[in-house]
Protein backbone atom coordinates (compact mmCIF):
# COMPACT_ATOMS: atom_id res chain seq x y z
CA UNK A 1 0.00 0.00 0.00
CA UNK A 2 2.96 2.32 -0.59
CA UNK A 3 3.27 4.93 -3.35
CA UNK A 4 5.84 3.82 -5.96
CA UNK A 5 7.40 7.28 -6.26
CA UNK A 6 8.34 7.50 -2.59
CA UNK A 7 9.61 3.90 -2.62
CA UNK A 8 11.75 4.76 -5.65
CA UNK A 9 13.17 7.88 -3.98
CA UNK A 10 14.30 5.87 -0.94
CA UNK A 11 15.80 3.06 -3.06
CA UNK A 12 17.72 5.44 -5.34
CA UNK A 13 19.46 6.90 -2.28
CA UNK A 14 20.52 3.40 -1.19
CA UNK A 15 21.52 2.23 -4.69
CA UNK A 16 23.82 5.19 -5.19
CA UNK A 17 25.28 4.87 -1.69
CA UNK A 18 24.31 8.38 -0.60
CA UNK A 19 23.19 7.02 2.78
CA UNK A 20 26.84 6.31 3.66
CA UNK A 21 29.28 8.97 4.91
CA UNK A 22 31.98 7.46 2.62
CA UNK A 23 29.93 8.30 -0.48
CA UNK A 24 31.68 9.50 -3.60
CA UNK A 25 30.47 9.27 -7.19
CA UNK A 26 33.53 7.20 -8.19
CA UNK A 27 33.47 4.99 -5.08
CA UNK A 28 30.86 2.48 -6.30
CA UNK A 29 29.58 2.13 -2.72
CA UNK A 30 25.89 1.44 -3.42
CA UNK A 31 23.93 -1.41 -1.84
CA UNK A 32 21.65 -4.01 -3.33
CA UNK A 33 17.99 -3.21 -2.67
CA UNK A 34 15.14 -5.76 -2.59
CA UNK A 35 11.56 -4.50 -3.00
CA UNK A 36 8.75 -6.94 -2.23
CA UNK A 37 4.95 -6.73 -2.68
CA UNK A 38 5.20 -4.51 -5.74
CA UNK A 39 1.80 -5.87 -6.76
CA UNK A 40 0.26 -3.96 -3.83
CA UNK A 41 1.53 -0.47 -4.55
CA UNK A 42 -0.96 2.40 -4.23
CA UNK A 43 -1.08 5.52 -6.38
CA UNK A 44 -2.48 8.73 -4.89
CA UNK A 45 -5.17 10.55 -6.85
CA UNK A 46 -6.51 9.04 -10.06
CA UNK A 47 -3.07 8.14 -11.40
CA UNK A 48 -4.06 4.54 -12.02
CA UNK A 49 -6.38 5.85 -14.75
CA UNK A 50 -4.57 9.04 -15.77
CA UNK A 51 -0.88 8.10 -15.82
CA UNK A 52 0.27 6.90 -19.22
CA UNK A 53 3.50 5.01 -19.92
CA UNK A 54 4.65 5.56 -23.50
CA UNK A 55 7.27 3.76 -25.51
CA UNK A 56 8.30 3.41 -29.15
CA UNK A 57 9.58 0.22 -30.68
CA UNK A 58 11.61 2.14 -33.28
CA UNK A 59 9.53 0.85 -36.17
CA UNK A 60 6.98 3.13 -37.90
CA UNK A 61 3.59 2.94 -36.22
CA UNK A 62 5.24 1.49 -33.15
CA UNK A 63 4.23 4.18 -30.65
CA UNK A 64 2.63 2.34 -27.74
CA UNK A 65 0.79 4.06 -24.90
CA UNK A 66 -0.40 2.06 -21.91
CA UNK A 67 -2.22 3.30 -18.79
CA UNK A 68 -0.76 2.48 -15.40
CA UNK A 69 -3.57 -0.03 -14.72
CA UNK A 70 -2.91 -1.98 -17.91
CA UNK A 71 0.85 -1.98 -17.34
CA UNK A 72 0.46 -3.12 -13.74
CA UNK A 73 -1.86 -5.97 -14.65
CA UNK A 74 0.53 -7.08 -17.41
CA UNK A 75 3.69 -6.85 -15.26
CA UNK A 76 3.38 -6.05 -11.52
CA UNK A 77 7.02 -4.97 -11.13
CA UNK A 78 7.19 -2.65 -14.16
CA UNK A 79 5.88 0.50 -12.47
CA UNK A 80 8.38 0.43 -9.61
CA UNK A 81 11.19 -0.53 -12.03
CA UNK A 82 10.42 2.41 -14.32
CA UNK A 83 10.09 4.76 -11.35
CA UNK A 84 13.55 3.79 -10.03
CA UNK A 85 15.11 3.85 -13.53
CA UNK A 86 13.84 7.36 -14.19
CA UNK A 87 14.96 8.65 -10.79
CA UNK A 88 18.54 7.37 -11.07
CA UNK A 89 21.11 9.87 -12.45
CA UNK A 90 21.20 9.69 -16.23
CA UNK A 91 24.74 8.33 -16.59
CA UNK A 92 26.38 5.05 -17.54
CA UNK A 93 26.15 3.85 -13.94
CA UNK A 94 22.36 3.70 -14.18
CA UNK A 95 22.27 0.27 -15.87
CA UNK A 96 24.65 -1.29 -13.35
CA UNK A 97 22.65 0.13 -10.45
CA UNK A 98 19.45 -1.29 -11.96
CA UNK A 99 21.13 -4.71 -11.95
CA UNK A 100 21.54 -4.31 -8.18
CA UNK A 101 17.81 -3.70 -7.73
CA UNK A 102 15.69 -6.83 -7.09
CA UNK A 103 11.91 -6.59 -7.43
CA UNK A 104 9.38 -9.21 -6.37
CA UNK A 105 5.63 -8.86 -6.89
CA UNK A 106 4.69 -10.81 -3.70
CA UNK A 107 6.24 -11.78 -0.37
CA UNK A 108 8.02 -14.78 -1.93
CA UNK A 109 11.78 -14.19 -2.16
CA UNK A 110 14.44 -16.70 -3.28
CA UNK A 111 16.40 -18.12 -0.34
CA UNK A 112 19.82 -16.91 -1.39
CA UNK A 113 18.58 -13.31 -1.45
CA UNK A 114 16.57 -13.69 1.76
CA UNK A 115 19.51 -14.86 3.84
CA UNK A 116 21.58 -11.85 2.77
CA UNK A 117 19.07 -9.19 3.82
CA UNK A 118 20.43 -6.94 6.54
CA UNK A 119 18.37 -3.80 7.02
CA UNK A 120 14.73 -2.91 6.43
CA UNK A 121 14.04 0.51 4.92
CA UNK A 122 11.17 2.23 6.81
CA UNK A 123 7.88 2.61 4.94
CA UNK A 124 7.31 6.15 3.60
CA UNK A 125 3.52 6.21 4.03
CA UNK A 126 1.54 5.37 7.18
CA UNK A 127 -1.11 2.89 5.99
CA UNK A 128 -4.54 3.92 7.42
CA UNK A 129 -6.64 1.43 9.40
CA UNK A 130 -9.88 0.20 7.85
CA UNK A 131 -13.10 0.46 9.83
CA UNK A 132 -13.19 -3.29 10.54
CA UNK A 133 -9.58 -3.20 11.80
CA UNK A 134 -10.55 -1.06 14.79
CA UNK A 135 -11.36 -3.00 17.98
CA UNK A 136 -14.91 -2.59 19.41
CA UNK A 137 -13.36 -0.91 22.48
CA UNK A 138 -11.77 1.78 20.32
CA UNK A 139 -15.04 2.29 18.44
CA UNK A 140 -16.95 2.61 21.74
CA UNK A 141 -14.32 4.96 23.21
CA UNK A 142 -14.72 7.38 20.28
CA UNK A 143 -17.43 9.92 21.27
CA UNK A 144 -20.60 10.31 19.22
CA UNK A 145 -20.35 13.71 17.55
CA UNK A 146 -24.11 14.10 16.97
CA UNK A 147 -27.22 12.38 18.35
CA UNK A 148 -30.10 11.38 16.09
Amino acid sequence: MQPPGKIAAATVIRLEGRHKPIYHALNDCGDHVVIINTRHIAFSGNKWEQKVYSSHTGYPGGFKQVTATQLHLKDPTAIVKLAVYRMLPKNLQRRTLMQRLHLFPEDVIPEDIEKNLLQEIPQPRAVPKRLDEYTPEEIAAFPKVWTP
Binding site: F43, N46, K51, T69, R130, L131, V145, P148
Partner: protein
Amino acid sequence: MAAPSLLCGGLRRIFSGLLGSGWAAPPARALRQVVEVTEGNTTTIEGRIIEDAEAPPPPNPSGQCPICRWNLKHKYDYVDVLLLSQFIRSDGGMLPRRVTGLCLEEHKKVAVCVQMAHRAGLFPNHRPPLPEGHVPKKPKLNRYLTRWSVRSAKPIWRRGPKWCKKPFPVGHPLLKDNIKYTQKPLCLNH
Protein backbone atom coordinates in the same frame (compact mmCIF):
# COMPACT_ATOMS: atom_id res chain seq x y z
CA MET B 1 -43.49 15.23 1.49
CA ALA B 2 -41.10 16.92 3.89
CA ALA B 3 -43.47 19.79 4.81
CA PRO B 4 -46.44 17.70 6.13
CA SER B 5 -44.20 15.51 8.34
CA LEU B 6 -42.51 18.61 9.81
CA LEU B 7 -45.91 20.17 10.58
CA CYS B 8 -47.18 16.93 12.15
CA GLY B 9 -44.10 16.70 14.37
CA GLY B 10 -44.47 20.31 15.51
CA LEU B 11 -48.24 20.13 16.09
CA ARG B 12 -47.85 16.87 18.01
CA ARG B 13 -45.44 18.48 20.46
CA ILE B 14 -47.73 21.50 20.99
CA PHE B 15 -50.82 19.35 21.60
CA SER B 16 -49.09 16.87 23.90
CA GLY B 17 -47.78 19.79 25.94
CA LEU B 18 -51.28 21.33 26.25
CA LEU B 19 -53.22 18.13 27.04
CA GLY B 20 -50.86 16.19 29.30
CA SER B 21 -50.06 18.32 32.34
CA GLY B 22 -46.80 17.14 33.80
CA TRP B 23 -46.38 14.30 31.27
CA ALA B 24 -43.12 14.86 29.37
CA ALA B 25 -43.52 14.56 25.61
CA PRO B 26 -41.40 11.79 24.03
CA PRO B 27 -38.48 13.14 21.95
CA ALA B 28 -39.56 13.85 18.38
CA ARG B 29 -36.35 12.38 16.98
CA ALA B 30 -34.62 9.33 18.36
CA LEU B 31 -33.33 6.00 17.15
CA ARG B 32 -36.22 3.58 17.33
CA GLN B 33 -36.34 -0.19 17.12
CA VAL B 34 -39.27 -1.78 15.31
CA VAL B 35 -40.90 -4.44 17.57
CA GLU B 36 -43.74 -6.60 16.27
CA VAL B 37 -45.88 -8.37 18.91
CA THR B 38 -48.69 -10.79 17.91
CA GLU B 39 -51.31 -11.60 20.65
CA GLY B 40 -54.11 -13.77 19.36
CA ASN B 41 -55.56 -11.87 16.42
CA THR B 42 -53.98 -8.50 17.36
CA THR B 43 -50.60 -7.57 15.91
CA THR B 44 -48.89 -4.55 17.47
CA ILE B 45 -46.04 -2.98 15.59
CA GLU B 46 -44.26 -0.52 17.85
CA GLY B 47 -41.26 1.72 17.37
CA ARG B 48 -39.56 1.57 20.77
CA ILE B 49 -37.18 4.43 21.42
CA ILE B 50 -33.66 3.17 22.16
CA GLU B 51 -32.38 4.99 25.24
CA ASP B 52 -28.72 5.87 24.69
CA ALA B 53 -26.24 6.48 27.47
CA GLU B 54 -25.70 10.20 28.05
CA ALA B 55 -22.92 11.44 25.77
CA PRO B 56 -20.10 13.46 27.38
CA PRO B 57 -20.59 17.21 26.85
CA PRO B 58 -18.73 18.60 23.83
CA PRO B 59 -15.77 20.93 24.54
CA ASN B 60 -17.43 23.87 22.75
CA PRO B 61 -21.22 23.68 23.34
CA SER B 62 -21.79 27.04 21.64
CA GLY B 63 -20.93 25.68 18.17
CA GLN B 64 -23.53 25.54 15.42
CA CYS B 65 -22.60 22.15 13.93
CA PRO B 66 -21.20 18.99 15.56
CA ILE B 67 -17.75 19.62 14.07
CA CYS B 68 -17.51 23.12 15.60
CA ARG B 69 -18.88 21.86 18.92
CA TRP B 70 -16.12 19.26 19.18
CA ASN B 71 -13.38 21.66 17.88
CA LEU B 72 -12.62 19.48 14.86
CA LYS B 73 -12.97 22.20 12.23
CA HIS B 74 -9.78 21.71 10.17
CA LYS B 75 -8.54 18.58 11.88
CA TYR B 76 -10.05 15.58 10.12
CA ASP B 77 -9.12 13.77 6.91
CA TYR B 78 -10.16 10.75 4.84
CA VAL B 79 -8.21 8.57 7.30
CA ASP B 80 -10.41 9.38 10.33
CA VAL B 81 -12.84 6.58 9.66
CA LEU B 82 -14.26 6.54 13.20
CA LEU B 83 -15.50 10.12 12.77
CA LEU B 84 -16.67 9.75 9.16
CA SER B 85 -18.58 6.54 9.90
CA GLN B 86 -20.95 8.54 12.11
CA PHE B 87 -22.23 10.46 9.09
CA ILE B 88 -22.81 7.57 6.67
CA ARG B 89 -25.66 5.12 6.17
CA SER B 90 -25.13 1.37 6.26
CA ASP B 91 -24.97 1.21 2.45
CA GLY B 92 -22.25 3.88 2.35
CA GLY B 93 -24.30 6.94 1.40
CA MET B 94 -24.14 10.23 3.31
CA LEU B 95 -26.87 11.18 5.79
CA PRO B 96 -28.78 14.39 4.93
CA ARG B 97 -27.63 17.68 6.44
CA ARG B 98 -30.98 18.35 8.16
CA VAL B 99 -30.54 15.12 10.14
CA THR B 100 -26.89 15.40 11.14
CA GLY B 101 -26.98 19.16 11.78
CA LEU B 102 -23.73 19.96 9.94
CA CYS B 103 -23.17 23.35 8.34
CA LEU B 104 -22.95 23.39 4.52
CA GLU B 105 -19.17 23.63 4.14
CA GLU B 106 -18.50 20.92 6.74
CA HIS B 107 -21.11 18.67 5.14
CA LYS B 108 -19.37 19.03 1.78
CA LYS B 109 -15.95 18.37 3.35
CA VAL B 110 -17.24 15.26 5.13
CA ALA B 111 -18.86 14.07 1.89
CA VAL B 112 -15.56 14.47 0.04
CA CYS B 113 -13.64 12.65 2.79
CA VAL B 114 -16.20 9.83 2.79
CA GLN B 115 -15.86 9.45 -0.99
CA MET B 116 -12.07 9.30 -0.72
CA ALA B 117 -12.30 6.77 2.11
CA HIS B 118 -14.67 4.57 0.05
CA ARG B 119 -12.30 4.64 -2.92
CA ALA B 120 -9.38 3.79 -0.60
CA GLY B 121 -11.33 0.76 0.63
CA LEU B 122 -11.61 1.92 4.25
CA PHE B 123 -15.34 1.05 4.52
CA PRO B 124 -15.44 -2.61 3.45
CA ASN B 125 -18.79 -3.31 5.17
CA HIS B 126 -20.68 -0.21 3.99
CA ARG B 127 -21.53 -1.50 0.55
CA PRO B 128 -24.88 -1.03 -1.27
CA PRO B 129 -27.10 -4.14 -1.24
CA LEU B 130 -26.60 -6.13 -4.45
CA PRO B 131 -29.45 -7.92 -6.23
CA GLU B 132 -29.74 -11.68 -6.83
CA GLY B 133 -26.51 -12.71 -5.12
CA HIS B 134 -24.40 -11.02 -7.80
CA VAL B 135 -20.81 -11.36 -6.58
CA PRO B 136 -18.94 -8.02 -6.73
CA LYS B 137 -15.48 -8.17 -8.21
CA LYS B 138 -12.68 -7.32 -5.79
CA PRO B 139 -10.73 -4.15 -6.61
CA LYS B 140 -7.25 -5.20 -7.68
CA LEU B 141 -5.61 -1.78 -7.29
CA ASN B 142 -4.94 0.19 -4.11
CA ARG B 143 -5.50 3.93 -4.20
CA TYR B 144 -5.82 6.88 -1.81
CA LEU B 145 -6.66 10.60 -1.98
CA THR B 146 -8.66 10.13 -5.20
CA ARG B 147 -10.49 13.30 -6.23
CA TRP B 148 -12.47 11.94 -9.17
CA SER B 149 -14.40 8.70 -9.41
CA VAL B 150 -12.58 5.72 -10.88
CA ARG B 151 -14.86 5.36 -13.88
CA SER B 152 -14.83 9.05 -14.79
CA ALA B 153 -11.04 9.58 -14.91
CA LYS B 154 -9.63 9.39 -18.44
CA PRO B 155 -5.95 8.82 -19.32
CA ILE B 156 -3.87 11.92 -19.96
CA TRP B 157 -2.34 10.80 -23.25
CA ARG B 158 -0.16 13.91 -23.81
CA ARG B 159 1.03 15.60 -20.65
CA GLY B 160 2.81 18.43 -22.43
CA PRO B 161 6.28 19.99 -22.05
CA LYS B 162 7.82 20.78 -18.66
CA TRP B 163 6.63 24.40 -18.60
CA CYS B 164 2.96 23.51 -19.11
CA LYS B 165 2.49 19.96 -17.87
CA LYS B 166 -1.03 18.71 -17.20
CA PRO B 167 -0.97 17.82 -13.49
CA PHE B 168 -2.46 14.80 -11.75
CA PRO B 169 -5.05 16.05 -9.22
CA VAL B 170 -4.57 14.58 -5.74
CA GLY B 171 -6.69 15.21 -2.64
CA HIS B 172 -9.41 17.88 -2.74
CA PRO B 173 -9.24 21.71 -2.62
CA LEU B 174 -11.94 21.82 0.09
CA LEU B 175 -9.44 20.24 2.48
CA LYS B 176 -6.61 22.68 1.77
CA ASP B 177 -7.12 24.51 5.10
CA ASN B 178 -6.51 21.43 7.24
CA ILE B 179 -3.80 21.94 9.86
CA LYS B 180 -0.48 20.42 8.88
CA TYR B 181 1.92 18.85 11.34
CA THR B 182 4.83 19.07 8.85
CA GLN B 183 6.48 22.09 7.26
CA LYS B 184 5.95 20.72 3.73
CA PRO B 185 3.29 22.62 1.72
CA LEU B 186 0.20 20.63 0.78
CA CYS B 187 0.42 19.63 -2.89
CA LEU B 188 -2.97 19.21 -4.61
CA ASN B 189 -1.51 18.66 -8.08
CA HIS B 190 1.27 16.17 -8.69
